[in-house]
Amino acid sequence: MEKIQHDYPALYSVPHRVHVGVVGSGDLEVLLEPSPDSRAHVVVNTSVDGFGATWKNVLDRFFLRFQGAASIEINDFGATPGTVMLRLEQAAEGLRP
């Protein structure tokens, strides 16, 4: 089990919490909530060790388009990068009015 943390700059605050996904085989859970400051913070708890660089790539790409000041916790049970991106986008979608 590995814990990975990254911070990103943000342009706007997020209005409310969003929860998506499940810690099931090949899937993940995303808890997105307003950040205590004006930056975005990501904590990843993953069952698969040694994929730090892949996580960084996926998160970098997500934050190219998402600029909300959100604290995001990810509980991962071996999801592929594609699934991770879909869950992150699903969470971001949950912020739309």
Binding site: H19, V22, S47, N75
Partner: protein, 290 residues
């Protein structure tokens, strides 16, 4: 209408229904409660999760796999506990078990003061979470005690939709419910097929043989022999309706209070004779399902 068309099954209903089985625990709770009434208790952002799984290298889910919610059923106050089977097989750990037991105990307190709360349990569980061993078992015992205490005031309604089914100590919890709703896909049993095969041998029980497995522990069979009350299609609206109706049925003696009856049924079985699902149906009254 031609005879051919009349014989065709009504596929439109099949296509239009919302599958309950395909829903996650939270969606299921939403689907059963009155629209818009869902209010989650100890949700994922409360982060009341298993302290034991991370110590064993397993990532914990923020709600420990149990969704608890208050809401209403036809406007009447209700509490619902839905188990998420995708997380650790819906297993009951210290926290997930305590969430269900606590909710039922709380409902019992309210009921004892004259404020009725309708309790619904959506089972989808392999039973105790082996990584949490005795702590999970203790929580399951608390769930049993809470169901028995609560059903003095109000029916406790359980649903086993599938595909995991309901096993282990939680099968006892399902059996203690005042009314149990199952689908054909649901399964109910003490030991799961794989466990029986492992312990008794493949000659005794072939867990790969799905037709055989469902003929013994499947929802249709359990309903036919009287261990479940309602057999439904996998249809979220039908299940939500059946839950409401279950609370409206008059007082029925719980199975666990009918000791003489079940001792008699057990005595009717001759252990020297092979017994399959069909033979048990013939033996135990309710006969083959239509």
């Amino acid at each position: 209408m031609t005879t051919e068309a009349a014989a065709r099954p009504d596929y439109r209903h099949f296509l239009e229904r919302r599958s309950f089985i395909e829903m996650g625990a939270r969606e299921r709770a939403h689907a059963v409660l009155d629209s818009g009434s869902f209010r989650e208790l100890l949700g994922p952002f409360d982060r009341i999760k298993s302290p034991w799984l991370p110590l064993q290298g397993i990532v914990a889910q923020a709600d420990d796999g149990v969704v608890l919610a208050r809401g209403t059923l036809d406007g009447k106050p209700a509490v619902i506990a839905a188990i998420e089977s995708a997380y650790q097989g819906g297993s009951m750990g210290e926290v997930s078990g305590a969430k269900i037991a606590g909710a039922l105990e709380r409902a019992c307190d309210e009921c004892s003061q004259g404020r009725l709360i309708l309790p619904v349990l959506l089972f989808e569980t392999g039973g105790v979470r082996l990584q949490e061993a005795n702590l999970g078992l203790a929580a399951i015992a608390e769930i049993h005690a809470a169901i028995i205490a609560l059903r003095r005031y109000v029916p406790v309604v359980g649903v086993i939709a599938g595909l995991v089914g309901c096993f282990g100590g939680m099968s006892l919890a399902a059996a203690l419910c005042t009314r149990l709703i199952v689908t054909r896909q649901g399964r109910l049993g003490m030991n799961g097929p794989e466990v029986i095969e492992q312990e008794a041998g493949i000659e005794e029980f072939d867990a790969e043989d799905r037709e055989f497995v469902w003929s013994v522990i499947g929802g249709e069979q359990r309903h036919a022999v009287g261990l479940a009350d309602d057999l439904l299609e996998d249809d979220a609206d039908a299940i939500a309706t059946a839950v409401r109706e279950a609370f409206c049925k008059g007082p029925t003696p719980e199975r666990s209070t009918q000791i003489e009856r079940y001792v008699g049924l057990l005595r009717s079985i001759d252990p020297d004779q092979p017994l399959d699902g069909k033979a048990l149906r013939a033996l135990w009254d309710r006969g083959p399902a239509s």
